[in-house]
Symmetry: C2
Subunit: 209 residues, 2 copies
DNA sequence: GTCTATAGAATGATAGAC
DNA sequence: GTCTATCATTCTATAGAC
């Protein structure tokens, strides 16, 4: 499990990147309490003390990991373009969320762990940024319904469905791989997954007739 | 956080039930590594040593918790009646899964944690029982498609969507409550959630025209 | 900046009185 | 069956040599 030590003259930026990358993996697998600084240090190929040189406490390191995940989340949030057609806005958003699940499964798992644990760290984000973002999208979806562009649907639960289905491919990656004969999804299987999810949801609200 | 001690003459069954109940809560919140025997003992209102009297190790206690969750999962699996119409089979299965998310959120969270961690304990279930169950349902869904009872859809991803959306209401309970102004979903809100999920998925595969 | 060594607290598990 | 006391280990975090 222990990786080779990094060269000693790595720059600060390189060390930070390596630590944060492996911290995300360990936090994803064991949650905040279950993860240990030793495990992160071993994965990063550094002495444990070096972690404390860059991050004073385990909590500070965890906060930094969460911060970076939130940035990715914001990027996906932006892809829900409120000025586009329903079909464009939703299919782009779903695709973007699926791409994130594939590219950053550990980030998604850390987020899932954090929410399962009652969101002790990200509670502020949920109450402010996420809540406001959700409200704006609910209004847009309700406008689409009023304009008869999509069928009547509870916008909130539509959003939950999109979050749940797309994040499932990251969070339950192990189950999906197991049910795929132990093989990670191939490019075409990811494409198929994205199309399947997009298809059912769009047809489910009256689009793509 | 510490609960009052139980009466000393509690029967073996009562003690087992109390321990397993609180163990599920703690394992749900912190995962296997993050949960501590002390935290479970405090929640159950027992000295830590009593836990080791009933369960030799933390792993043995965890296995028992997982075993009970699997029983509930089997119960839901049975509700997918392969001899019913697509509309009946799927809407009943979704409703059952939503009821389980409401009645056993901690069990669902333990399962989620376990899968996120790579399913070290339940790997056997995934490869045998779950895999076989999935295969039978995929065949039924493909038959429905061949008989033109539902639109063409990848059965595997349809199942993943159902699992993801229904379990989301348990696993991401905290996020959903936060976005509901901090209030747990009421009876009518659960009903609405179930109807919304069922509606989008069934319409998404060409049912309920 | 890097690393060894270690302090001080918490953890899983057990011994043994009751 | 119940509970206190405790052991061995592991954890976060720091001190201090290089």
């Amino acid at each position: 499990m222990e990786a080779a030590r990094k060269p000693r003259n790595a720059t600060r930026e390189e060390n930070l990147a390596v630590i944060l990358h492996h911290a995300e993996k360990i936090f994803a697998e064991f949650g905040f309490k279950g993860a240990t600084m030793q495990a992160i240090a071993d994965a990063a190929g550094l002495p444990k003390a070096n972690l404390h040189y860059y991050f004073p406490t385990k909590l500070a390191l965890y906060r930094e990991v969460i911060e970076r995940i939130f940035t990715i989340w914001l990027e996906a949030a932006d892809s829900f373009d409120t000025s586009a057609t329903p079909e464009e806005a939703l299919s782009r958003y779903i695709r973007k969320k699926m791409e994130i699940s594939r590219a950053h499964p550990c980030g998604s798992k850390v987020w899932a762990n954090e929410v399962i644990q009652g969101a002790p760290i990200i509670q502020d984000y949920l109450q402010t940024t996420l809540n406001e973002w959700t409200d704006t999208r609910i209004k847009v979806i309700n406008r689409w319904i009023a304009e008869e562009k999509i069928d009547t649907v509870d916008p909130r639960h539509l959003l939950y469905m999109i979050w749940a289905t797309t994040q499932h491919y990251a969070d339950f990656q192990h189950q999906i791989v197991t049910l795929n004969s132990g093989n990670p999804l191939s490019d075409s299987q990811w494409e198929n997954a994205t199309d399947s999810v997009t298809g059912v949801i769009l047809r489910g609200i009256g689009l793509k007739p």
